[in-house]
Assembly symmetry: C2
Homo-oligomer: 229 residues x 2
């Protein structure tokens, strides 16, 4: 076969593109290195020149996704005119908006990621995004604590706790996805919706805020994401 040489960064990002497509289509375990290199048009040795292991490929992909996510809300984070609460709400609103914009693609990925055999994939992506978001959210919370608005003495811990709350809805997600298309779908979406409303309540309470101060999700948001085509 003809040998094609590319800049390492290009190669790496191409491999990540292929891995992303395949992982979100078939899952992590079911995707083999051979699948990835076939799609990327590179040899086995070539692949292992850029990544030390399949595991490292996943790690790198998770990190890339996380950094993309934070880049999308960068301007809100840097806006100096915002109070902590306003920044937090803008941050959340912007994240929701981004999710809604490519909800169809997201939905397709979720179909795979939330399947029980794919927890590793889910966990890595989630962990990476938490790692990236942690200093960001901790900063906002520290700001709010300094303003005397958030009743929290440990911004780091509060941020970590809040970021992990999303994971506690994993099962509700998984259930909703599993029964998608059946008669139980409506009830499952309802449950998911309720689950997230409760998470919103929890966020407010953890921060020592009157309920509704932080808008975690708007009513109907989860339904909109779930029913996206």
């Amino acid at each position: 076969m003809p040998r094609i040489v590319k800049h390492p960064e290009d190669r790496r990002s191409e491999l990540l593109d292929c891995a992303q497509a395949l992982f979100f289509e078939q899952g992590y375990e079911r995707t083999t290195i051979n699948d990835v290199i076939a799609k990327a048009g590179i040899s086995k040795g070539g692949f292992y020149h850029h990544f030390a292991s399949k595991e490292e490929l996943l790690e790198a992909l998770a990190a890339r996704l996380a950094h993309e996510a934070v880049a999308r809300v960068r301007d809100v984070l840097d806006d100096p005119g915002l109070s902590a609460l306003a920044r937090l709400n803008s941050f959340l609103a912007r994240s929701r908006q981004a999710n809604l914009e490519d909800a169809p693609k997201l939905r397709a990925a979720f179909d795979v990621v939330f399947r029980p055999e794919n927890i590793v994939l889910y966990h890595r992506v989630n962990a990476a995004s938490i790692a990236v978001m942690l200093p960001v959210l901790a900063g906002i919370i520290a700001e709010g604590a300094a303003e005397g608005v958030f009743a929290v003495s440990e911004p780091e811990d509060a941020a970590e706790t809040i970021l992990h709350l999303g994971a506690s809805a994993h099962d509700a997600w998984a259930r909703a996805i599993a029964v998608s298309g059946t008669a139980e779908e409506e009830a499952a979406i309802e449950a998911l919706e309720r689950r997230f409303q409760f998470l919103g309540l929890s966020v407010n309470r953890i921060l020592g805020l009157p309920d509704g101060s932080v808008v975690f999700v708007e009513p109907g948001f989860m339904r909109a994401v779930m029913t996206a085509r």
Copy 2:
């Protein structure tokens, strides 16, 4: 080799015993089916007669551990003389006591379970215990809500959220274990201790309780578990 025939339940539980010992000593991925069957003194075919896959073995082990854990606190759950808050505190105290009693064994298992390559093991065990504890905790919370003590309208959701809080300390655990024996150990244990204090605060707030009503951990508890020999 001589063929030894046993009652299926005995065989199953023996295999689970062996799997438990090996998983908590080497991790899930690093333990092979051959390891398990060698330790259990059974053939491959014999093993697969009882379990459909390695994955199913893990699932069964996680379920067994979860049921053992809930059995340990059964009497507290059934005591009719307790208010919801008292029941919750007894439940937590009993769980802590049980953990402290075999802290050394637990510590050894944690050394493996909290290593990054063993998230699957961690996740399955955690998920199984959450599944078993969920109705229990939801019951207590519903009781407290009915008493007008807990300000929560969705006991199920509250229970699920609270049970998942523990997982949000996974990273702090992992860090503490990773640096165990180094100069950073003290700081990591301190961080873990702080992390759990915050979780306690979060539980109280989520339930709409004055801080300190629910005693999630006592000060020094995490240190005691971590430094157990």
